[in-house]
């Protein structure tokens, strides 16, 4: 089974970084990728993140999401082509002469550019976030988030959501098998597909909801809500941390300058 968004117990420079600096870097990347509209800058950012994963030997983790991201990108580009018209017309989605003499749905440079920018944003955000999650122990992540005064309830929600991803995958598989044993056949066509989700989704959601009470009680019994404040000296800073934050800050400065000039 493919594990997604799970901490990988390994030694890499990303693992030894302070979770706080990683969170700061990821937050920085997300903010910057939203603010910049330059596809070259975004491409560089994605490349940078990918190189970091290569250095840490975690490129496989990122590539796992590649298929999904490519699919997402293509749909986004399609969407911008359909909705946005600016710049030069390169070609037509339905070429001239098919129905009318002029082409229908022009593909414009503006639309392509915007589609690419949107896609690269997703690449950057998802890659960065994933590197954060797979290289940071959930308990360290929790400490770091608490240290920057995020309410404990939200932090627990986040940590638990991550923890239950593989459990849900396994449970989904079990439910699928149980229904197959009853002769379940996924339906054909869109309507059939939607209808056939019910036998899988209902048990999955119902089981998850049934779990919440014990989960909540366990957290109380182990004292998560009345925890002692984390001593910040437990989170060590090292050179890579400063380098990472520095990099992101530099990028930020570059983008700001670029947009003013």
């Amino acid at each position: 089974m493919k594990e997604i968004m799970q901490y990988i117990n390994r030694d890499s420079f990303l693992h030894s970084m302070n979770p706080l600096s990683k969170i700061a870097a990821v937050a920085g990347i997300i903010v910057l990728s939203v603010f910049t509209t330059n596809s070259a800058v975004l491409a560089l950012m994605v490349l940078g993140i990918f190189l970091a994963s290569l250095k840490a030997g975690l490129q496989q983790e990122l590539l796992k999401q590649f298929k999904l991201l490519v699919f997402l990108s293509l749909s986004l580009i399609m969407l911008t082509i359909l909705t946005l018209k600016s710049g030069e017309t390169l070609a037509y989605l339905i070429p001239p002469g098919t129905f009318t003499t002029a082409g229908i749905v022009p593909i414009t440079t503006g639309a392509l550019d915007f589609g690419v920018v949107l896609s690269l944003r997703f690449f950057a955000m998802l890659f960065a976030f994933q590197l954060l999650v797979v290289t940071t122990k959930p308990s360290d992540l929790m400490k770091a988030l608490l240290a920057i005064h995020i309410p404990v309830d939200y932090v627990l929600m986040f940590v638990i959501a991550l923890r239950f991803i593989p459990s849900l995958q396994i449970e989904g598989q079990r439910i699928h098998e149980a229904q197959l044993a009853r002769g379940y056949k996924p339906g054909k066509g869109l309507r059939g597909k939607i209808m056939s989700v019910k036998p899988l989704l209902v048990p999955l959601v119902a089981n998850s909801l049934g779990r919440t009470q014990v989960l909540g009680l366990t957290m109380d019994m182990r004292g998560y809500r009345s925890r002692h404040s984390v001593e910040s000296n437990k989170l060590v800073w090292n050179k890579v941390d400063f380098a990472a934050i520095g990099c992101v800050a530099l990028m930020g400065a570059g983008i700001m300058l670029g947009s003013f000039m």
Binding site: Y7, P138, K185, V214, M219, M221, R222, R225
Partner: protein, 504 residues
């Protein structure tokens, strides 16, 4: 330590009280055992003792509960109470919050603000005593049910609270692990801790128990000494910690096996497995299995967790295809026939009924399987009535499946499968989570199905079940069949009659 004074409790919108006029005094340093049938109020009592009813769940509470001679209501929520009371619940999966065993235990200790030195000391101690040190870096979803329970237990033990409440917290442990927990609890008791064990099967802990509380329909029916309890008719039948081999040797022998051989040769096997191997990545899950199962047999497949039992039976309805070797079901080759064809011949009921129930009524639930194999209209209605009658759920036809009791849901799962009239019925751990009464009902149902001409295969690690009911026992270890013998006590005349007249 904890005192219940005439406590009556009703959950939110429920009509009936779950606890009725309960008076109970838990002494300091005592090991109290609480038992009773399902729905007797065991878990509710455990929650009451921990103060969870007052502070977290609410509902109507009459009477009062004192903890350390102070009204439990006056404590500052579970925040304060959890410093004194540790509780382990039955659902192990939900008690694991982090992605590694070490973090799980460590984070609880960090919440309590212990020094790093103390944390490391306790961490090592508790992982050692619960025998989970080797699982230190494992993620919860890679652990077995028993391992999860051990981790949940360890995480609570590490907190070293004065009171420890275990609510069905050892159900999935094998006998070796239970012994381990036994000795840990014994040591804790000697150290003066107050321990409350709530379970429908308390046999394992009678020896260290001080008193046994027997609950029935929310009332304390009796409080006995453990010695009296084991003499009186127990809630569940006692079964000594005999090793599997010994039990098997006593009741199964090869002579009978050869005696039955000629009878078998008369009929074609329902399932025939030849040199079956199966792999999960690098792991060899099944290793050269040869097996034949004949019409009308009641076969038990016995083995530890991870021995390949479930993997084997998944080949019987096409959920898995052989890596090498072959499996034929009623002459149909597993590797060639699609799964929706095979399920007409093989009904597989999984361990957890909640993984399949999704409809709004019991009747619709059964109709789902029937529609899938093309049975519709009056024929389907008839099949529904018939199968509900068989499992004794006729009056629940319009009920919401998820509101049924655990035992009823399990029987409904069986009904869903038998309505499709497969010749072969496979049940994966059919009695897990059921109390003695419900287990019995389940096994009676299986007998009844056998008499109707079905071939039954049950996968289990419950020796008692095997000893009482199975006619043939297949013992698996590390992906291999190590023993295949007949059970003299059970291989009664039903079996021979059935084969003689080829009733399928």
């Amino acid at each position: 330590m904890i005192e219940l004074k005439d406590v009556t409790y009703t959950y939110g919108v429920a009509e009936n009280s779950s606890l009725k006029n309960v008076n109970l005094k838990v002494r300091e340093g005592e090991l109290l055992l609480v038992t009773g049938h399902s729905a007797a109020g065991k878990t509710t009592l455990a929650l009451a003792l921990a103060g969870i009813l007052h502070h977290e769940i609410g509902g109507r509470i009459e009477g009062e509960i004192l903890f350390k001679n102070r009204n439990i209501r006056d404590f500052d929520g579970m925040k304060e109470l959890s410093r004194h009371i540790g509780m382990v619940f039955d659902d192990a999966e939900s008690q694991l919050i982090f992605t590694s065993v070490e973090e799980e235990i460590r984070s609880g200790l960090e919440n309590r603000g212990h020094s790093e030195k103390e944390i490391v000391r306790r961490l090592e101690e508790v992982m050692g005593s619960c025998e989970i040190s080797h699982l230190k870096n494992r993620a919860p979803h890679t652990l077995s049910g028993g391992q999860k329970q051990k981790v949940a237990l360890a995480a609570t033990l590490a907190l070293d609270t004065e009171v420890l409440i275990l609510d069905e917290a050892t159900a999935e442990l094998d006998s070796k692990a239970v012994k381990r927990i036994f000795s840990i609890l014994k040591r804790l008791k000697e150290a003066g801790k107050t321990i409350i064990i709530v379970d429908h099967n308390i046999e394992d802990f009678l020896e260290i128990g001080d008193r046994v509380v027997l609950l029935e329909k929310g009332k304390v029916k009796a409080i006995k000494s453990p010695a009296d309890f084991s003499v009186s008719p127990p809630v569940s039948r006692p079964f000594g910690p005999e090793p599997a081999e010994k039990v098997l040797n006593k009741t199964y022998d090869k002579e009978l096996q050869s005696e039955l051989q000629p009878l078998r040769q008369k009929s074609q096997p329902v399932i025939s497995v030849k040199k079956l191997t199966q792999r999960y990545g690098e792991v060899l899950a099944l290793d050269g299995i040869d097996l034949e199962i004949y019409p009308g047999e009641l076969v038990a497949i016995l083995g530890e967790n991870g021995s390949g039992k479930t993997t084997l039976v998944k080949h019987f309805n096409g959920l898995l295809r052989p890596y090498s070797g072959n499996v034929t079901i009623k002459g149909l080759e597993n590797s060639k026939v699609p799964i929706d064809e095979l399920v007409k011949h093989t009904g597989l009921v999984f361990q957890n009924p909640d993984n399949m129930l999704f409809e709004d009524t019991v009747e619709a639930e059964i109709a789902f399987g029937l529609n899938n194999i093309g049975v519709k209209g009056s024929e389907a209605a008839e099949a529904i009535t018939r199968s509900l009658e068989l499992v004794n759920l006729s009056e629940k036809q319009k009920s919401f499946p998820r509101h049924l009791s655990r035992g009823e849901r399990q029987r409904l799962a069986v009904a869903c499968v038998i309505a499709m009239r497969p010749e072969l019925i496979i049940l994966d751990e059919p009695t897990t989570g059921l109390d003695a009464d419900e287990s019995d009902r389940m096994m009676q149902l299986m007998r009844k199905l056998q008499q109707k001409g079905h071939t039954i295969v049950m996968v289990t690690h419950n020796l008692q079940l095997v000893k009482d009911h199975a006619e043939r026992v297949i013992h698996m270890q590390a992906g291999k069949i190590v023993e295949d013998t007949a059970n003299r006590e059970c291989a009664g005349k039903e079996y021979r009659e059935c084969i003689g007249s080829a009733c399928v």
